[in-house]
Symmetry: C2
């Protein structure tokens, strides 16, 4: 599919992340106004709330865009998702007769503050990258036992904490936690010393389920995708995670990009999961290309210094698609709801520079990563800013998600001081 | 504290679960009416929504009780919780001059349908019963390695699935899942064959937090308690839970009792946690009695047959209080919200008949439990009805939670048939 041209000129540049092909959904505010729904086009945002109020975007009796989240649109279901995308495309396409009526509702992205684009109902994080699971398993259990026996049969996941999901730009405070090193006699309560990122994609469930769904049905339930950084306290995790999994290590913050790139926009970038090493059981089997070809990168900028690229990989290296993860999530009858967020798991490629966490990049802290500034990192240091980007490259156009960025603030001196 | 007498006669019987000392909060409906907030007193329910509409229960400009959940009351904070309890006590106490105006708003419990008493924001389940953890650990790892090394230092917990929490009376469908026995070559997708209960108490967080809280602050944040049955698919769990914890094994359903017994009502029943085998770090240390003396029982009734008591224990056997669990939950800065539900973990006493799961009662299926009907059980069979009860015994009165009951329906023949 080639570039779809818009009358918003900036949207037609080949490196613009928000051409007419994209139309991602966010929540923004300007000045003192209330946050509301908007769609990115070029370097502008179409104010959907305002456009709705004058009758340019109307789908039924109740307003959908005057609220600071896209959940109400999700709840209308896939038929409306398609009608909305068609309508927006019609309004913004080159030559559209609607231009004079739509133009007054364009806002400069540079002047807008972005907010969480949706209310997170529940958050599940997976462990579906084989290179990541193999790297971590090798470090902890040796190469012979790297992958757990279930890994090639089910997308391993655990429930995370929806309340800790924040939008790009939110500062993250280094947490305290209970720590015990392998040579310590007893645990202690101290600031995390091995704070890390996890480069992931997040899939947003748009449609409810009440019983097991097939992989195809699961794919149809996905509203869109965001970039996701699952901040991780490795030392807290090491002490707490046996036997019931990560808990406080993953509860400080998870950052998502401000724009939801819809499944419809990503259609041209669909690709297959890798060849199966063991055949999946029928209910999880691939049924068409359900991964996406999206280039991903992570930069790290020490406080007041330039950013260095520390990882470059692609979503297409994952072993399980979000559709397979969602299908597995429903096998027991677990009800899923609009706004549920599924983290893909850390996305690491086969090469060293393709690893999506400092745990892997520094091989458990043993091989420091050198930045362009000459500094090195094993884990994150106070003041570090991490930025994730994602780019799908089409024929003469690109699709982006906006930055997924966050700065690490130092731990509180006394977490209980009031 | 002795019985507080009410002008509702049935509330004064020494074995009535809902004396004036209790005043638990639920959501009910009668006939075709919308579900709304109510308070149990004797064999009646005070219709709070109706009482509010005529000015008998007013706390500010906005109505609080005309909705089918108690979250709005929680969000008002502990000062309002106390004013509400005082007001209800005044309205319903023996000799109250309000009797003529209140009496029209009493509804027969027998005529009411109970609904979920609150919107579950997020659900966390703990593993804080030492006898349970020791039993399970002994079965799986041997007596020498029964307790994980972290167990005596932190209340181990994992995030569960809020969407799967249902009110007492809801039927539960036996789930399908991926299973692999120790002697199987490969996993298969089949109905769970080892479906189980977990006898727990649920603590409901009523107040938000944004940063670590002390054990005392955590105790103040708790709005009330419910009985909780964390239905568990042991065979699904065995295959999936390494390395990131239980997932689909715990996502079919969690049943809670219909009445929230407030922390205020439970004050007279406070008791200490057991002696510490290892001193806790200061941020988790006990600071007064924060457990409760509540007798608990589980009955099992095969379809169409009489119920047998299969377990009797007490909440006072737990190693960690809900306040300690909540304090631990916030150590990393994890934001907590009104409506968050914390499962205590399975409550098993030291004796065999005090074990709160069939996994323990039948010792992993090796020692079938004999019912009064002559039948035996290792795990649950289709049609079985499980009922949890809880009773705090005061001086001439008792406090109850209402039944926490559910019936197991057979697995679907084909979970993907539409």
């Amino acid at each position: 599919m080639p570039l779809m041209r818009s009358w918003v000129d900036s949207a037609n540049a080949p490196d613009c992340p928000f051409p007419l092909n994209n139309l991602p959904y966010g929540v923004f505010s300007t000045g003192e106004e209330e946050p509301r729904c908007g769609v990115a086009i070029g370097d502008k945002i179409l104010d959907c709330g305002a456009a709705e109020s004058v009758g340019l975007l109307n789908f039924g009796d109740e307003p959908l865009f005057d609220v600071p989240f896209w959940n109400e649109v999700m709840e209308q279901g896939p038929e409306l998702w398609e009608r909305l995308r068609n309508r927006l495309t019609g309004l913004l396409a080159e030559g559209s007769s609607s231009r004079p009526s739509v133009e007054p509702f364009l806002v400069e992205q540079a002047a807008a503050t972005m907010h969480m684009p949706f209310l997170v109902s529940e958050y599940t994080d997976f462990y579906a990258g084989k290179h990541h699971a193999t790297n971590v398993g090798t470090m902890f259990r040796g190469a012979e036992n790297a992958l757990p026996p279930n890994w090639l049969h089910i997308p391993i996941g655990y429930n995370g904490r929806a309340s800790s999901v924040v939008v790009s730009g939110t500062d993250v405070r280094r947490p305290w936690g209970q720590l015990k090193g392998p040579n310590d006699d007893a645990p202690r309560f101290a600031p995390c010393a091995r704070f890390d990122l996890e480069l992931e994609m997040g899939a947003i469930v748009g449609k409810e389920s009440d019983g097991p769904v097939t992989v195809n049905e699961a794919d149809d339930m996905i509203f869109g995708y965001v970039l996701l950084n699952d901040w991780s306290a490795r030392d807290i995790q090491a002490w707490e995670y046996q036997p019931l999994g990560p808990f406080q290590a993953k509860a400080t913050a998870t950052t998502v990009s401000p724009w939801i790139v819809t499944r419809a926009a990503l259609e041209p970038f669909r690709c297959n999961t890798p060849a199966r090493e063991k055949e999946l059981l029928p209910h999880l089997r691939d049924n068409g290309p359900m991964l996406y070809d999206i280039d991903l990168a992570v930069t790290l900028a020490p406080e007041g210094k330039a950013a260095s690229t520390v990882a470059e990989t692609n979503y297409n290296v994952m072993y399980y698609s979000a559709a397979q993860q969602l299908a597995h999530h429903t096998t027991s009858g677990c009800p899923m709801n609009p706004g549920d967020l599924l983290g893909s798991g850390t996305i690491s490629g086969p090469e060293k520079h393709q690893r999506g966490s400092l745990l892997e990049l520094s091989w458990g802290g043993k091989e420091p990563v050198t930045l362009d500034t000459g500094e090195s990192r094993t884990f994150l240091e106070d003041g570090d800013r991490l930025t994730l980007t994602g780019t799908a490259r089409g024929d003469g156009f690109t699709l982006g998600f906006g930055e997924c960025t966050g700065r690490l603030l130092p731990a509180l001196k006394d977490p209980y001081a009031r």
